[in-house]
C-alpha cells in the first residue's frame, strides 16, 4: 500500500517535528476546551448513549 511521498521526504525527524511541534500543542489547545474522547465518567448521567450521526457517507 503506497505511503505518501511528502511524508517520505519528511522522514522520521520531520514527522517528529510535525507531531511534537504542531499536533501536540494544537491537541493541548483542543483539550483545554473539550475532550474529543469524552473520557470522564459521569455519575449524574443516566445514559452515555448519543444521538446517531446522520450525516451521509462521503462519495
Amino acid at each position: 500500500m503506497p505511503r505518501s511521498r511528502w511524508t517520505e521526504r519528511l522522514g522520521g525527524l520531520g514527522l517528529a517535528a510535525l507531531y511534537f511541534g504542531v499536533l501536540t500543542p494544537f491537541g493541548w489547545c483542543v483539550r483545554a476546551v473539550r475532550d474529543p474522547l469524552r473520557r470522564s465518567w459521569d455519575a449524574d448521567r443516566a445514559s452515555y448513549l448519543e444521538a446517531p450521526d446522520r450525516s451521509r457517507a462521503a462519495p
Binding site: 505511503r3 473520557r39 445514559s47 452515555y48 448513549l49
Partner: protein
C-alpha cells in the same frame, strides 16, 4: 422504500441491478454480490490468498463473485464499500490530537499511510477495479457507514419484517455500538456509542493480556472463560468500565493503550491484574481462566442490557445482531435463554467480512429491491453457503492429476459408509458444495468426528488441528432431534448460540471431579457427548435441516440411525493459523498433513491408508503463522 442507514449514496439514475460489496484494508477483507436483494456470492479474501484475516484488497474474492454470478464489473449497478474512509481518518486525527504527546510511534507508522492513501481508499478501490474490469467502464463506487453495513447485514437478510437491531464491535469510523430499528427495507438509526468507548476493544484488551492475538484470539478467550470464576468482574466494573442501566458505558482510558499505543493495555492494567500479560504460547494459569470468566461476565451483562434497551425503544420482540461482538455466542445464548427477545437472528459473518455483504444489501435495497424471502419466513443467507464450489468433474480431474486413489459413491452409500467410519472413531475431512461465508464451518468445509468418545477432543486438538488443548469442539445436530440433546428452543443454523447439553444427556461428575480446577476439568466426561460438552456443560450448537444442507443432514441421519446419536463434532477444515480450506487441493493437503483418516471430496471417498506418501518442501507448520 429506500434504505436509510445513516450514510451511503444510493446511485445516480436510480438504476437497480446487481451490486458488489467490498470490505478491505483493516482485517478480514471480503467481497459479496447481491442481485435484487438476494446474496448470490460472498467470500473472504483469506480463503484465496491463504493469509489468515487478509486485509488487502480482495481481488480474488471479487473475481470469484463476478464469476459465480456470470457478470462483468460494467454490468453492475454499483460497488458498495463498507465504510467511510474520510470519516475514519477524522476519527484517527481526533484521537491523535486527544492523546498527544503519547502515541508518536503509532503516528510515525500510521500517518504516512493515512496521508498517502487510506483516506482516499475509494480511489484505490476504483484503481484496482479498473485492473479487474479490463478497460470497461466502472459502476459508481459508493461508501456506506461501517455500522450501517453491519446493521444491514444483520437485518436485511433476516427473516423478520421488522426488528430491533444491535451492532457492537471494536470500532468503525466513530461508532462502536449502534442501535437501530429495521422495518421493511429501512434501517433507522436510534443511538450510538463512540470510540474509544468500545466493548470490542475491552474484550480485545483482555484477549491481548491473556496472551492471545487481537482480532483472532477473542473466541479463545470465550472458550477459556468456563474454566475460571469471574472474581475480577467487580474490579473491572469499578475501574475499567462504567456501565449504565441501559447498557451504555464508558471505559477508563487510563488503563488502556489502544487509543494511542501499539499495544492494548498499559502498565496500570498490569498493576490492576497482578502482573504482566501472559506470554503468547506460555502456560495458562488460574489468573487467565478467571480474567476470561470475568470479562465474559461483564460483556454478557452489557450485551443483555443493550439488547433490552433497543427492544424497548423499538417496541420489537425480535432482535438482529452483527458486529464482531455478535460472534460471542455465549452472550447470544443468554439472550435466548433469558427470553430477552422472542426471536434472535445473528448474521453468520458478523465481523468485518460481513460488512461487504451488508453494504451490498443496503445499496441493493436502497435502489428498490424487495425482501422477498420474508414472505417465505426464511432468511436470505442460503445457509451461508455462498462461496465457491467444485463440480464432480473438477474433483475427478484433481484426483487424476495427482494420482490420488479414491472411490466414487452414490450419496446413500457414501453417507452410510462415512457414518460407519465415524462410528468407529475415524476422523473425516468433509468437503462438499459451496464454501461457507463467515468464520464457522457449517458442514461444507468441516472436519467431523464422533462426539461420544471422551478422547476425541484431545485427539483432534493435538493431532489434527494442532491447537490449544483447552478449546472445545462444537456439535452439529439434526434440527428435529436438537431439543433432546440440547436446551435449545429454536434453531441455531449458524453455530452462533451456546446452549446447555440437555439434562438427559448430562452425567453427574463423580468424586474424581472433586477439587479439580482449570484444564484438569477436561479429564471428566460430563455428558454422553463429551467431545462437544464444555466444562460448564454448554455447547456451541449448529442445528442442521435438509433445506439448508441436504447432504450434511443425510450424513447426520445415517449416523443417528447407526448409533442413536444425531450429533457430530463439526470443526473447521483447517489447522491452527490457516484459513479454512477452499478447494480440493487445500483439503487434500490438510488431510495428508494431519491425522484425518478419511477425506470426502463431493462424491469421492479417500482413505489415508491408500494414499501415496506425502512429500512437500520445507516444514509446512513453519509457513503458517500461529493465530
Amino acid at each position: 422504500m429506500g434504505t436509510r442507514t445513516g450514510g451511503g449514496r444510493t446511485g445516480g439514475a436510480g438504476r437497480d441491478g446487481p451490486v458488489l460489496g467490498i470490505s478491505a484494508y483493516y482485517h478480514d477483507s471480503a467481497a459479496a454480490l447481491v442481485s435484487e436483494g438476494v446474496p448470490v456470492a460472498a467470500a473472504q479474501e483469506e480463503r484465496f490468498s491463504r493469509r489468515r484475516h487478509d486485509a488487502g484488497f480482495p481481488a480474488q474474492a471479487v473475481a470469484y463473485c463476478l464469476r459465480e454470478a456470470g457478470l462483468r464489473l460494467d454490468e453492475l449497478a454499483a460497488v458498495a464499500f463498507y465504510e467511510d474512509p474520510a470519516l475514519k481518518f477524522r476519527r484517527v486525527m481526533a484521537t491523535w490530537l486527544a492523546t498527544a504527546p503519547h502515541g508518536f510511534p503509532v503516528f510515525r507508522r500510521a500517518f504516512p499511510q493515512w496521508a498517502g492513501w487510506k483516506r482516499h481508499a475509494l480511489d484505490d478501490v476504483r484503481a484496482r477495479l479498473r485492473v479487474l474490469s479490463g478497460g470497461r467502464p466502472l459502476p459508481p463506487v459508493v461508501a456506506h457507514r461501517h455500522h450501517g453495513s453491519h446493521a444491514a447485514s444483520a437485518f436485511l437478510p433476516s427473516p423478520y419484517p421488522s426488528a430491533a437491531v444491535l451492532c457492537v464491535d471494536g470500532v468503525g469510523e466513530w461508532a462502536t455500538t449502534t442501535l437501530w430499528h429495521g422495518r421493511g427495507t429501512e434501517l433507522v438509526p436510534l443511538a450510538e456509542l463512540r470510540f474509544p468507548h468500545s466493548l470490542g476493544m475491552l474484550y480485545s484488551a483482555f484477549t491481548h493480556f491473556c496472551g492471545f492475538k487481537v482480532d483472532s484470539g477473542e473466541y479463545k478467550l470465550m472458550g477459556l472463560a468456563p474454566y475460571g470464576t469471574p472474581r475480577w468482574a467487580p474490579l473491572i466494573r469499578e475501574r475499567l468500565i462504567n456501565v449504565k442501566t441501559d447498557g451504555s458505558f464508558r471505559l477508563d482510558l487510563r488503563h488502556f493503550a489502544f487509543q494511542y499505543g501499539q499495544t492494548m493495555t498499559g502498565r496500570s492494567f498490569e498493576e490492576l491484574f497482578g502482573g504482566p500479560r501472559r506470554t503468547p504460547e506460555g502456560p495458562l494459569t488460574e489468573r487467565e481462566f478467571d480474567l476470561a470468566a470475568s470479562v465474559q461476565a461483564v460483556t454478557e451483562e452489557v450485551v443483555l442490557r443493550l439488547a433490552r434497551t433497543v427492544l424497548e425503544r423499538t417496541g420489537e420482540r425480535r432482535l438482529c445482531l452483527a458486529g464482531g461482538v455478535a460472534l460471542n455466542c455465549v452472550a447470544n445464548g443468554r439472550l435466548v435463554d433469558e427470553s430477552v427477545c422472542d426471536e434472535l437472528w445473528v448474521q453468520p459473518a458478523a465481523g468485518d467480512a460481513g460488512g461487504a455483504l451488508g453494504s451490498a444489501l443496503a445499496e441493493s435495497h436502497g435502489r428498490g429491491a424487495p425482501r422477498t424471502h420474508v414472505r417465505r419466513g426464511t432468511d436470505a443467507m442460503a445457509g451461508a453457503l455462498l462461496g465457491p464450489g467444485y463440480s464432480a468433474g473438477e474433483v475427478a480431474e484433481f484426483l487424476d492429476r495427482g494420482g490420488y486413489p479414491a472411490v466414487c459413491l452414490p450419496e446413500p452409500e457414501l453417507v452410510e459408509r462415512v457414518a460407519a467410519e465415524l462410528a468407529e472413531g475415524k476422523v473425516v475431512g468433509w468437503f462438499q458444495g459451496r464454501m461457507e461465508f463467515g468464520p464457522r464451518a457449517l458442514g461444507n468445509r468441516s472436519i467431523l468426528a464422533d462426539p461420544r468418545d471422551p478422547g476425541t477432543q484431545s485427539t483432534l486438538n493435538l493431532k489434527t488441528k494442532f491447537r490449544e488443548s483447552f478449546r472445545p469442539f462444537a456439535p452439529a445436530v439434526l434440527a428435529e432431534d436438537a431439543k433432546d440433546w440440547f436446551d435449545l428452543a429454536g434453531e441455531s443454523p449458524y453455530m452462533l448460540l451456546t446452549a446447555r447439553v440437555a439434562a438427559a444427556q448430562r452425567r453427574t461428575c463423580g468424586p474424581e471431579a472433586e477439587g479439580l480446577t482449570g484444564l484438569d476439568l477436561l479429564r471428566v466426561p460430563r455428558s454422553t457427548i463429551p467431545a462437544v460438552t464444555h466444562v460448564d456443560g454448554s455447547a456451541r450448537v449448529q442445528t442442521v435441516t435438509a433445506e439448508r444442507n441436504a447432504r450434511f443432514h443425510a450424513l447426520l441421519t445415517a449416523f443417528r440411525d447407526r448409533t442413536g446419536c444425531p450429533v457430530l463434532v463439526n470443526t473447521s477444515f483447517n489447522v491452527r493459523g490457516e484459513p479454512i480450506v477452499r478447494d480440493p487441493g487445500e483439503a487434500y493437503a490438510c488431510f495428508m498433513r494431519t491425522r484425518i483418516d478419511l477425506l470426502v471430496l463431493g462424491d469421492f471417498l479417500l482413505d489415508k491408508r491408500d494414499q501415496p506418501a506425502w512429500r512437500e518442501e520445507g516444514d509446512w507448520r513453519a509457513a503458517i503463522p500461529m493465530d
